[in-house]
């Protein structure tokens, strides 16, 4: 079946693979040469999957430390307000109802934040390990935008921000409505967050042959060119924006969701235009 030379070469290849230093000997039209190339390809992809496993473990560790880090503040806060609440309550009749209700609402706020945080992390972890599948199908863009706007409308109103969107019911793209909604809300949320009082957020669509783009433009500070690659990292927050409410997990999650739908995000850096602009590209 095989001649000795072939067997010998196969063994050599195997030995080299075990050693981790396999390289093709030469390239020609023989089958053995092609086998070598495919062998190399296989080794490469198994290295890659090993690397992925490594990454996964690393990510899990990071995740755990992220959780402990991120939950630390609300937990401390809750602990602190609970202490304060207890102290105030211990004062009996002297206790100030106002303070108590204030502390309680602070606790509630921290709790909500914690809840959001844990909720986001759970979602992220489910998304990443695939327990919750993103199933893209043809949906109306308008529907997506409208639901997302309604989710942030109240927040925007608080800051007196106007959100404009030109309707066009004919537009469609391939996406998972629920998840993409989540993603778009994150973007809008950010826009609201970084927009000044009385600002304006404009949402408009653009059509490409392969993609349907949704532009979200605000008149906030925008993102600098050097930050464009970083903002999608987990728990990142722009340098210009000091700690405000919210966690940096949103954009990361957004990118993951859109990527699962064969789409991508693009940030227009603030040296290109005034204000912030984020574009979501969805497959048509």
């Amino acid at each position: 079946m095989f001649n000795n030379k072939t067997i010998a070469r196969l063994e050599e290849m195997l030995d080299a693979a075990i050693e981790g230093n396999f390289v093709e000997s030469e390239y020609d039209e023989t089958k053995i040469s092609r086998l070598e190339s495919r062998w190399k390809e296989f080794l490469g992809s198994s290295v890659l999957s090993n690397k992925n496993l490594e990454n996964e473990r690393h990510r899990l560790e990071q995740f755990i430390s992220d959780i402990s880090h991120q939950t630390k503040t609300p937990m401390t806060n809750i602990k602190m307000y609970t202490e304060l609440l207890k102290e105030e309550a211990a004062r009996g009749a002297d206790a100030s109802i106002e303070k108590i209700s204030n502390y309680a609402s602070m606790i509630e706020k921290q709790n909500t934040r914690l809840e959001f945080l844990i909720d986001s992390l759970t979602k992220l972890s489910r998304l990443e390990n695939g327990t919750l599948a993103v199933v893209p199908k043809e949906e109306q863009i308008d529907k997506l935008i409208a639901t997302s706007i309604s989710a942030i409308e109240s927040k925007a109103k608080l800051k007196n921000i106007t959100v404009t969107h030109k309707k066009d019911e004919s537009l469609k793209a391939l996406f998972d409505l629920k998840w993409t909604n989540e993603a778009l809300i994150n973007i809008l949320d950010n826009a609201v967050k970084y927009s000044p009082e009385g600002g304006a957020i404009e949402i408009y669509t653009e059509q490409f042959e392969m993609y349907q783009a949704i532009h979200v433009v605000d008149n906030g500070p925008g993102i600098s060119e050097e930050d464009t690659a970083k903002i999608f990292g987990r728990f990142y927050r722009g340098s210009e924006v000091q700690q405000e409410e919210g966690v940096g997990i949103g954009l990361y999650l957004t990118r993951e969701i859109v990527a699962k739908e064969d789409g991508y995000l693009k940030v227009v850096p603030n040296n290109k235009r005034e204000g912030g602009e984020m574009i979501v590209y969805l497959r048509r």
Partner: protein, 220 residues
């Protein structure tokens, strides 16, 4: 782990007075699955660099190691077969074979190697690039953007170690360019494909995970 390592690459044209140093000691490495863009003005040596990396041209000195193999020593047909198996090219001018259908173009590198076509994989690639309905037409019947998508599909279909894109949107209008870049970006991630793209345009370069800047034959 680096899939591509270039060390101290130089390429000189001419002699003495007319000596042109197209590349002057370039070193770089690209990781598996990475999308790297090399940005530089025209005449910066970026095309020469890409030709070296893809085994289209041999360097005056220095080494190019792709998938652990030093290709600066390969010659002629060996280099050709190496390209067929390891490199996917995407050119500014598409460079599809005009006489055969879109599908035949896509599977040509696989067939040249006498391999069985991995039908599931190829149809996944074709679908991802939105080419299902164009498979049986000749390239000349397609628009520029569509042709470039065929070129991307061709590069992906043979599962090369690395895809080299030379100004992939140079011949396209800005809207079509966005499409093609988006596809490059998303398919690269989707199929775990290492990509190196050269461009002179900052905005296009931004699409990559990492940007390498080249000026006067040197990396900045």
């Amino acid at each position: 782990m680096s899939i591509l390592v270039a060390e101290n690459l130089t390429k000189h044209y001419g002699q003495d007075d007319t000596l042109v140093k197209a590349l002057d000691g370039v070193s770089l490495s690209v990781e598996r699955g990475e999308f790297v863009s090399i940005i530089g003005t025209s005449g910066s040596g970026k095309s020469t660099l890409l030709h070296m990396l893809g085994g289209l041209d041999t360097p005056t000195s220095g080494t190019v190691i792709i998938d652990d193999k030093d290709i600066s020593k390969l010659k002629g047909d060996e280099l050709c077969i190496f390209r067929r198996r390891k490199i996917g090219f995407i050119f500014q001018s598409f460079n599809l074979v005009p006489s055969i259908s879109v599908y035949d173009n896509i599977i040509l590198p696989i067939q040249l190697d006498g391999k069985q076509v991995d039908k599931d994989f190829v149809s996944n690639v074709i679908e991802t690039l939105g080419l299902q309905s164009k498979l049986n037409v000749l390239p000349s019947k397609l628009s520029g953007g569509q042709q470039q998508r065929v070129a991307i599909a061709r590069a992906l279909a043979s599962k090369p170690a690395i895809i080299l894109a030379d100004e992939p949107t140079g011949n396209l209008d800005s809207k079509t360019s966005q499409d093609v870049l988006g596809l490059l970006k998303t398919t690269g991630k989707k199929f775990n494909q290492t990509m190196v793209m050269i461009t002179h345009n900052d905005e296009i370069a931004q699409m990559a995970d990492r940007t390498i800047r080249i000026e006067d034959g040197r990396i900045k």
